[in-house]
């Protein structure tokens, strides 16, 4: 007598959908800060005011962070690809590498905050700079924590379709953090 095995209906990628909504919120947060930054900067420039003191913003730290984030986007993509192909070893290595690159980025930002020749209350530009870059640092730190939890799950042997969705959800958030940083890099570090 054949037995029928019923499986519960799977939800269509609930985690990824939730991550998309959450990431959208974070992007709106940065959208507001960027809009204020560029609007106030435009007004200051139009009045002929100095936005940052000469030499206050160095290109190298921003460039280093951008290259770190770009590399982390590649390793995150590697993790997603590996998880989709049930390659646990590569997935674990890729997620660990991404987390390490994230930690490196946070470390570099903290170093730059201590090294920068600009106090947070020097001007509107400085307050905005510290708020935007500091918020992004928090965003990356949250991403690192998320990856840390995924690594714990992976090392604990949980390799289910839910885990795949978790990696995709984390990847969506991580790509957004890279995209946000690219706006910081171009709009703040390069355009000054």
């Amino acid at each position: 007598m054949a037995t029928t095995v019923t499986t519960p209906p799977t939800r269509p990628r609930t985690l990824v959908v939730a991550s998309a909504f959450g990431t959208g919120s974070v992007v709106m947060y940065f959208g507001c800060l960027f809009a204020l930054y560029f609007s106030i900067r435009h007004d200051a420039m139009a009045w002929g005011s100095q936005w940052y003191p000469e030499g206050a913003i160095q290109l190298v730290p921003g460039g280093m962070n951008m290259s770190t984030m770009a590399m982390s986007a590649i390793t995150m993509g590697w993790a997603v690809h590996a998880v989709l192909n049930d390659d646990r070893v590569h997935a674990t290595i890729a997620m660990a590498l991404t987390a390490v690159l994230g930690i490196a980025m946070v470390n570099q930002t903290v170093f730059y905050f201590k090294d920068i020749g600009l106090s947070i209350d020097a001007s509107e530009a400085a307050t905005l700079l510290f708020t935007i870059v500091g918020s992004h640092m928090v965003m990356v730190a949250v991403g690192v924590l998320w990856l840390g939890l995924l690594l714990l799950r992976a090392l604990g042997g949980q390799d289910t379709s839910r885990h795949r969705d978790l990696v995709s959800a984390a990847a969506l958030y991580w790509y957004a953090s890279v995209a946000v940083y690219s706006v910081i890099w171009i709009g703040i570090y390069i355009a000054k």
């Binding site: 939800r11 509107e124 510290f130």
Partner: protein, 495 residues
């Protein structure tokens, strides 16, 4: 070792408080959102009443010790209504009723619980911040900086809680609904909640960014600009005016459409038109761009085409939704019987008040009248928020059995409270509208110059407005009593 196991089990039996705090049951969370939200609405109405009493004499301070004290209560009234009252109360229905309408259950219940308690802690911090002379800054800079920072931190927690809950609700609707149920098949409460939650998930992070910027600038050193005492409210005030506040009315319109359809046992004739109209209502209520504090030289944002067109365009859209409601009512009138249900009456009144608010909102932006800084803005806020509270009450009464239980419903008491809320809202809205046309300022301060040197006839209108505030307060108190009796009756039966 059975004895040891039993002892351990009895030691770890959760207390009622532990049970409440650790539960992930959406119904329990809905009760926390609902009672917390409506209690905050009551507090906000009380603050509004005190401000109304103060306005009886525009030339001096009577209730408060000065303009700064009045400003703190005036801003608390708006913040408490929107972020501590109405949005959480909407979340009560969104976490309990909406998942059932979608044929599923709330996804991420633990995240929903985290969101709920984050909001509770944030709301507590915000209220304490206002009470200890903080709030969102003062025009005279007489507030306590530490308390202002506490208020901002509380607001950030409130926003985080609301955002997380919104993500849970939206994910439930988008990917947690029953197989075969399309978005077009959703009941209007679920649909408008999805549209509304999408819009406030876009706006609340922007408010959070403003609050973070103010907090960073406020702490520890003289503020550069964003954290200055007299600048904080100006940066955050866009959330409490046109067009952002319209989004609060959207789920209420959905509730009205569902309640009328349910009580008349008649489906809407032009369902797709109503779906599009409600989506357009949500689109027009996106207000994160309207930040007057950051106006650049040239036309102020409140007078830019985008603001003015949104204010006018929302009137026909609301008219289309109310028209759909009236059409359903007309076709199903025979099924209503001699005594229409109290919740249907309240929800129809709520929809009509929303329509009135949109008309006042359109009048407010007519440039030659110069009404943007007058009490027409207050009338607009009062009408819309009154409508939202009325519609929310109707929703709570209709789905009260799901939230609290079947025993102890008192439709007569509910209707009495609803009529007081509707009447009070109409009185406040009408009186403040006329006062605004007579040049009374939105924030009147404690001297005639700050009040805009209005015509002396506004004294009578301010008395009418104060009476309206009292009626609103009384209606809300009656509702809270009704809800408490309803809950107690069901607890008694359960015990």
């Amino acid at each position: 070792m059975t004895t040891t196991d039993n002892a351990a089990a009895s030691d770890s039996a959760p207390t009622a408080l532990e049970d409440a705090v650790t539960t992930t049951d959406p119904v329990v969370l809905g009760r926390v959102w609902g009672f917390g939200g409506m209690a905050s609405v009551l507090l906000a109405a009380f603050a509004g009443f005190l401000v109304g009493v103060e306005r009886l004499d525009l030339a001096s301070a009577g209730v408060f010790d000065g303009a700064d004290g009045l400003f703190q209560f005036w801003s608390a009234y708006r913040v408490a209504f929107v972020l501590l009252g109405v949005l959480p109360a909407l979340m009560a229905l969104a976490t309990t009723v909406v998942p059932r309408q979608c044929g599923g259950s709330l996804v991420f219940p633990r995240a929903a619980a985290l969101a709920c308690w984050t909001w509770v802690v944030g709301a507590g911090m915000t209220i304490v911040g206002f009470l200890v002379d903080g709030g969102l800054g003062t025009p005279g800079g007489g507030g306590e900086r530490q308390a202002t920072a506490l208020t901002l931190m509380g607001l950030l927690l409130v926003i985080c809680g609301l955002l997380l809950a919104s993500v849970c609700v939206m994910t439930t609707i988008v990917s947690g609904r029953a197989a075969g149920t399309g978005l077009r098949d959703l009941p209007f409460t679920a649909w408008t909640t999805l549209v509304g939650a999408t819009v406030w998930t876009g706006m609340l992070p922007v408010l959070a960014a403003n609050a973070v910027l103010a907090y960073v600038d406020l702490r520890g050193r003289p503020a550069v600009r964003f954290g200055a005492e007299d600048a904080i409210w100006a940066q955050l005030s866009w959330m409490f005016t046109h067009p952002a506040i319209y989004v609060l009315a959207l789920p209420v319109l959905g509730i009205a459409l569902d309640l009328v359809s349910s009580t008349t046992r008649t489906a809407q004739a032009n369902r797709d038109v109503l779906l599009v109209a409600t989506a357009a209502f949500g689109f027009l209520s996106f207000g994160a761009f309207a930040q007057t504090f950051f106006d650049t030289p040239g036309t102020p944002i409140a007078e830019e085409a985008i603001s003015v067109v949104a204010a006018f365009a929302i009137v026909p859209v609301t008219l289309a939704i109310v028209g759909g409601l009236a059409d359903t009512l007309r076709r199903g009138a025979a099924n209503l019987g001699p005594k229409p249900p109290a919740e249907a009456v309240c929800s129809i009144l709520a929809a009509l008040l929303v329509l009135a608010a949109t008309v006042v909102g359109a009048v407010r932006v007519i440039a030659p009248l110069e009404l943007l800084d007058t009490s027409v803005t207050g009338a607009h806020f009062a009408l819309l928020l009154g409508a939202v509270i009325l519609g929310l009450g109707a929703g709570f009464h209709h789905w009260g059995e799901d939230l609290v239980g079947p025993e102890g419903r008192r439709p007569g008491m509910f209707l009495l409270g609803g009529l007081a809320v509707a009447g009070g809202t109409a009185l406040v809205g009408a009186a403040d509208l006329v006062s605004g046309l007579m040049d009374q300022a939105d924030f009147t301060g404690v001297d005639l110059a700050t009040a805009g040197n209005p015509d002396s006839a506004v004294d009578g209108l301010n008395l009418v407005s104060m009476i309206g505030s009292f009626a609103l307060l009384a209606g809300l108190a009656l509702w809270i009593l009704n809800g408490s009796l309803h809950t107690a009756a069901n607890r008694k039966v359960a015990a």
